[in-house]
């Protein structure tokens, strides 16, 4: 059983054929060539595969590929605006909020979902937003600080 899936990936229309039961993570990584979402557990516990589906964070490893048909998918590769990095990316770079980098794409997507919803989050809201994203090297403190820093940078951009 295969199914053609058409979706908008980071602003561009794309299409691929998914096997029955195939998850969105495999569709993105193996058929559409976007390897930025990572496979850390394939059981919905680590958050490394987090992507935005119509703006909402979802775990790509637990999302059927065909559910993305006709919808918008955003991965970390869609965060930047041309050569200009997103304030979240800049804040992560400046604040040493990534070490091995494996959790970073999912972490950034979870943070993006938060800032889209709540541009001026409290520390507690930041912690809540990344509660489903596991990091084993960096430690959560610089990540939380970087997300708060990014919120300030975004506010600065808005003037």
């Amino acid at each position: 059983m295969t199914k053609a899936v058409r979706l908008e990936l980071n602003g561009s229309p794309v299409a691929a054929v998914a096997e029955g039961g195939e998850n969105l993570l495999a569709l993105l990584r193996e058929r559409l060539g976007d390897t930025s979402p990572k496979a850390g557990c394939l059981q919905g516990t680590c958050g490394a595969c987090t992507v935005l589906l119509d703006g909402e964070p979802v775990l790509a490893c637990l999302t059927l590929a065909e559910l993305a048909d006709g919808r918008r998918v955003t991965t970390v590769r869609g965060l930047q605006d041309g050569p200009r990095l997103h304030p979240l990316q800049e804040a992560f770079m400046d604040g040493f909020a990534a070490q091995c980098g494996f959790c970073t794409p999912g972490m950034l997507i979870a943070a993006k979902a938060l800032l889209d919803r709540e541009p001026n989050p409290t520390r507690e809201q930041v912690i809540e937003a990344i509660a489903g994203n596991v990091c084993r090297c960096t430690g959560y403190t610089p990540i939380v600080e970087a997300i708060l820093d990014a919120a300030r940078r975004l506010a600065g951009r808005r003037g």
Partner: protein, 562 residues
């Protein structure tokens, strides 16, 4: 962060232009844009997927393996067995002529821990491979298993690893454990005001890297194999893969360096040899990646360590004797535990000057998951025990724990139990700064103390040392610790003559990726009793370029200047 440059200011010749400054990682832009390439991010067409059938038993003989249903599963291309292995057993340190080849890449007719790979299935899809794995039937004859280091050393305990031939690793040809002898511990314990004993137990700890262990192998037209891998020691794993497959290392091209979390859990080279063998036998690209469940169950964790400490203590706080028995649970195979055990012995008795020291550090085999490198393995467990015990000693004599540490801290010029003179000690200053930052009151004497005073002199001597070698109870058959008569050679039993640099387990230490252990002293070579230097050097030494030993070794080898 504040750097206390006022400490040892006269010894500094650096301006510390980078320490304390924010510096961007060179790879961080790739990380935040999702363009860093991990091993599994390389697009490879036509992959075969490798999955292992794993033991459900802790210890068992294999009567039969029935793969017929698995072979009939659509998509299955081949099943790898023990008979396919070019080299029947291997250990990753034997490429340095250390240790014993003691582990088959696929079960050799016996399984020694739960989760041990028995056969490997190669299929066109991960799903087909998983389905075939589930159809393999293994007929086990269960054997008694042993899960405790002290149980494993008892006479009559089940023999875990026949390649080793006993449940402990024998060092330097003839030593049942790593042994440090310095002074007369028995006499000092007898004359001490009180003896404080402690038992400390570490749990195994899984690294749980977010990226699981894995690799992708692609055969090239020229007979070589490109291996995309997450190993922490790229050339270490290349050499070990070549050795295990009995091929020239120039047939392997390892590509890696971007590691999704390691912490020591990606040096054992467990995935690459099977995957390259599979690619050799099928001519197809092969992907072998641990599931999360495999990563948690069978990737080698930090070993369980059990540490006994017996201190002879005087009422004024001086520790006059320290006796340590340190057991490392290697699990069923050596991996790097033989080396971790050496590290623990090199670290004891901690950063303290104690005139009588006796250490026995054992590498013990049990039917648990093989343990291996993890962030200061051997040392971290030792420090947990040592510093917990320092607090216990402080409580026992009613002394402030910070003051106790300052009182017993090693100082410049002190002779260590390893026959090295202390240089660049800085424990006292560290305790002083820690107390200050914590608002912990120290006495005037403790606040004014310094690592530069009070050491040397009598404390630089190597005391008369009765040599009593420890033998395994099982080796003697008495069930008790047997001691040989004084040997007359007068050397410190088990003392490694040269400091070993760590193997390339990149766990955040200071070594360079090409750092390798030096070869062990050959059996029969005389072991010197003299210290490296009798006198402290007149000038502070320059920081060594490579350094010997990771930063966790600083209490033995290191200096306060880097």
């Amino acid at each position: 962060m504040r750097i206390r440059k006022e400490l040892f200011a006269d010894e500094r010749d650096d301006a510390l232009r980078l320490v304390g400054q924010p510096v961007r990682r060179q790879d961080i832009e790739g990380h935040v844009t999702g363009r860093s390439t991990f091993f599994d991010d390389h697009p490879v067409a036509g992959l075969l997927h490798l999955r292992c059938v794993r033991s459900s038993e802790h210890h068992a003989r294999i009567r039969a393996i029935d793969t017929s249903a698995a072979e009939r599963t659509p998509g299955v291309r081949r099943i790898l067995r023990y008979a396919d292995l070019p080299k029947k057993a291997h250990n990753i340190l034997t490429i340095f002529n250390f240790g014993i080849d003691d582990e088959p890449a696929l079960a050799d007719g016996k399984v020694r821990y739960r989760g041990e790979p028995i056969v490997a299935v190669l299929a066109e899809s991960r799903r087909a491979a998983d389905e075939a794995v589930a159809k393999v039937r293994v007929d086990y004859e269960p054997l008694p298993a042993v899960f405790d280091v002290e149980e494993a050393l008892k006479p009559g305990a089940p023999l875990v690893n026949e390649y080793i031939g006993r449940n402990w690793f024998r060092y330097w040809g003839d030593y049942d454990c790593q042994q440090i002898r310095f002074g007369d511990v028995e006499a000092a314990l007898r004359s001490a005001d009180l003896v404080v004993e402690g038992r400390y137990q570490m749990s195994p700890i899984e690294h749980a890297p977010l990226e699981t262990n894995g690799c992708i192998v692609v055969p090239a037209e020229d007979g070589r194999f490109t291996v995309y891998t997450c190993t922490q020691g790229l050339f270490f794993s290349l050499d070990n893969t070549a050795a295990q497959l009995k091929i020239e290392s120039n047939r392997l091209h390892f590509i890696g360096g971007t590691v999704g979390g390691g912490f020591g859990g990606k040096v054992d080279t467990v995935v690459e040899p099977l995957a390259v063998l599979a690619a050799m036998l099928t001519g197809r690209p092969v992907r072998y990646v641990f599931s999360r469940a495999e990563e948690m169950q069978v990737s080698s964790p930090r070993g369980a360590e059990r540490i006994y400490i017996r201190d002879g203590v005087m009422r004024d706080g001086r520790i006059v004797a320290r006796e340590i028995t340190h057991y490392h649970d290697a699990g069923a195979y050596s991996r790097l535990s033989t080396y971790g055990t050496i590290k623990s012995a090199a670290h004891h008795p901690g950063p303290y000057w104690i005139p009588n020291v006796r250490v026995d550090s054992w590498c013990v085999f049990t039917n648990r998951t093989p343990s291996s490198a993890m962030r200061g393995f051997g040392v971290t467990g030792g420090d947990f025990a040592l510093e917990s015990h320092m607090d216990a000693v402080a409580r026992a004599i009613g002394m402030d724990p910070m003051e106790l540490r300052i009182k017993n801290a090693y100082r410049d010029g002190d002779m260590k139990a390893h026959r090295k003179l202390t240089q660049g000690a800085a424990l006292i200053e560290c305790v002083q700064v820690a107390a200050e930052l914590a608002g912990w009151p120290l006495s005037e004497d403790a606040r004014r103390d310094s690592s530069r005073v009070g050491g040397g002199g009598e404390r630089a001597r190597i005391p008369p040392t009765p040599i009593a070698r420890t033998r395994a109870p099982a080796a003697t058959g008495t069930g008790a610790r047997a001691e040989l008569p004084r040997s007359g050679t007068g050397f410190a039993a088990g003392e490694p003559r040269r400091a070993m640099t760590p193997p390339p387990s990149r766990t955040g230490g200071t070594g360079s990726p090409s750092t390798r252990p030096e070869p062990e002293p050959r059996r029969g070579e005389p072991i010197r009793n003299e210290p490296e230097r009798r006198e402290p050097p007149p000038e502070p030494p320059r920081p060594a370029s490579g350094g010997h030993g990771a930063i966790r070794f600083s209490s033995v080898f290191g200096s306060r200047r880097r």
